[in-house]
Each structure stands twice: as structure tokens, then as C-alpha cells.
């Protein structure tokens, strides 16, 4: 597991610039490659779950404001500093090792995660994966308040 982070690439238009980075752990790649493409929105939304995730990753990378509570949220317990990226149908779990950098560990459909009681295994998975990675300390960014850009 040590050192195994895979960078995520997005298509940038000629007028767009990379401002942030996203990396995936092997478990995150497995979800992205094997699970997400088969998911469908059960609410008749215009964008598929995959398209929603592609769009929010693109928005993050080009430096758009990720609104707290809408696009991203820090999960309870706060002490773990685990974050989720949110789309209408999908939740993406990971953490911020540095500013402008998000590492994805896993994802799931919002409908499968309600009620909130189903979140803890995902939170623990992020913590476990993070603890097992050979990253320089500190391994995660603390102290990001709700409305700070990350």
C-alpha cells in the first residue's frame, strides 16, 4: 500500500488551468472503475452518477469554490478529518493531505448511505488507508473551517 497513489486526470479546456490535484488509492480506483460506471440515478436526473462525479472532480481541479454542505463536507467525528465530496447521487470519501489536494479512498450512492448510520465504515476505511500510507507527516490537513477553500 505504501506509495500507491494514482493521480486522476481530467480534460481541461484551453481556457482552464489546473489549480488542485486529486489522487486515488487502489480501493478508490476499484470503486471508480468497477462500481461507479454501473450506477444509475433513481431520481431521473439529467446527469448519471458517473457524469456527476466527473463534473465535481473537474470543478475541484480547475479551482472552483467547493461549497460547504453542498459540494463537500467534513464528516463526524471531526477529529478524523475525513471529507466527502457530494453530488446529487454520489458521496466520495477521502481526505486532504495538503491544501489543494484530495485523496479518494471510496465512494457510494447517497441512497445506500442513508441514514447517516451507514457512514462510519467509510470513515474508518479512510482512516485505516491513510494510516497505512507512507506519507510525510502530517498526513492530513487540520483546521479547515467550513467556508475555507480547500
Amino acid at each position: 500500500m505504501a506509495g500507491k497513489l494514482i493521480p486522476y486526470e481530467t480534460e481541461l479546456d484551453v481556457r482552464e488551468f489546473r489549480e488542485r490535484w486529486i489522487d486515488f488509492t487502489p480501493s478508490g480506483v476499484s470503486w471508480l472503475q468497477n462500481v461507479l460506471p454501473g450506477e444509475v440515478s433513481d431520481a431521473g436526473r439529467k446527469l448519471s452518477p458517473l457524469e456527476q462525479v466527473e463534473q465535481i472532480f473537474h470543478d475541484y481541479i480547475i479551482g472552483r469554490l467547493m461549497q460547504y454542505g453542498v459540494d463537500r463536507k467534513r464528516l463526524v467525528p471531526d477529529r478524523d478529518f475525513v471529507w466527502e465530496f457530494k453530488t446529487p447521487d454520489v458521496r466520495v470519501f477521502g481526505w486532504l493531505p495538503r491544501e489543494r489536494h484530495f485523496i479518494v479512498v471510496d465512494g457510494g450512492m447517497r441512497r445506500d448511505l442513508k441514514p447517516y448510520a451507514k457512514y462510519p465504515p467509510y470513515i474508518q476505511k479512510v482512516v485505516t488507508v491513510r494510516d497505512g500510507l507512507d506519507l510525510d507527516a502530517p498526513k492530513y490537513l487540520e483546521g479547515i473551517r467550513a467556508n475555507e477553500i480547500c
Binding site: 486522476y8 489522487d23 471508480l32 439529467k46
Partner: protein, 119 residues
């Protein structure tokens, strides 16, 4: 360099980018109007004669939106809507200064491309 991406065909991506632009513009506008004159989702709902939850769903992308609805939200924000289709070929500089991997905050290792294609 090993990397992962989500591939969506260009025609479809044009649509998803449009949705993203609208979502971003609306939320950015509300953030600014809130800072300037304390406009809230509740107030927007009052202006449009709907409930706050509807505004929340529209701004978050949870609910699909028609052009007329976009116009209503712009009205509630007291903002005009501008549409632009800039040329990718006219008036652009060569090689935009994308941040290089040398600026990556965390070192990574690896090298082969993995793609997950849209269903």
C-alpha cells in the same frame, strides 16, 4: 505515469460542463449577494413563491432545471444571465500555464493509464 480518469464523449461532456457552469454561477451569485445584502435561500424562495427546500435542490443540482427556472433564479438573485460561447481558436494564448507535476503537494509513484468509461 499511471493515472485514472473518467471518459465521457465530447458531445455529452459539453452538456455536463454546461450543467456545472450553471450550478457554479448560481451558487457563486448567491454567495456574493449574501455577502452584499444578506440574500438567503429563504428570501429567494419567498420572492419566487416556493419553499426553501426547492431552492436548495435547484442550487445543488438535485432537481433538474428548465431555462425558465434558471431565469426565475436569476430574477430572485437580481442578476442578469449572460451566455457566452467563446471560440477555442480565436484570441487564445499558446499553452496555458497549467501547474506541472513538479508542484504536486504529495509525491506519488506509478505509471499506466486506467480508464473508466461512461455507461
Amino acid at each position: 505515469m499511471k493515472s485514472v480518469s473518467l471518459k465521457i464523449d465530447k458531445r455529452r461532456r459539453t452538456y455536463t460542463r454546461l450543467i456545472g457552469e450553471i450550478h457554479h454561477a448560481l451558487n457563486q451569485a448567491l454567495t456574493e449577494e449574501n455577502e452584499d445584502r444578506q440574500l438567503t435561500k429563504a428570501k429567494m424562495a419567498e420572492i419566487l413563491g416556493c419553499d426553501r427546500g426547492t431552492i436548495t435542490k435547484l442550487l445543488s443540482g438535485t432537481r433538474n432545471m428548465r431555462l425558465e427556472t434558471l431565469a426565475d433564479l436569476a430574477y430572485a438573485l437580481d442578476r442578469p444571465v449572460e451566455v457566452s460561447l467563446p471560440s477555442r481558436r480565436r484570441g487564445t494564448n499558446a499553452s496555458p500555464p497549467n501547474a506541472s507535476d513538479a508542484n504536486r503537494p504529495v509525491d506519488i509513484a506509478g505509471a499506466k493509464k486506467i480508464e473508466a468509461k461512461a455507461a
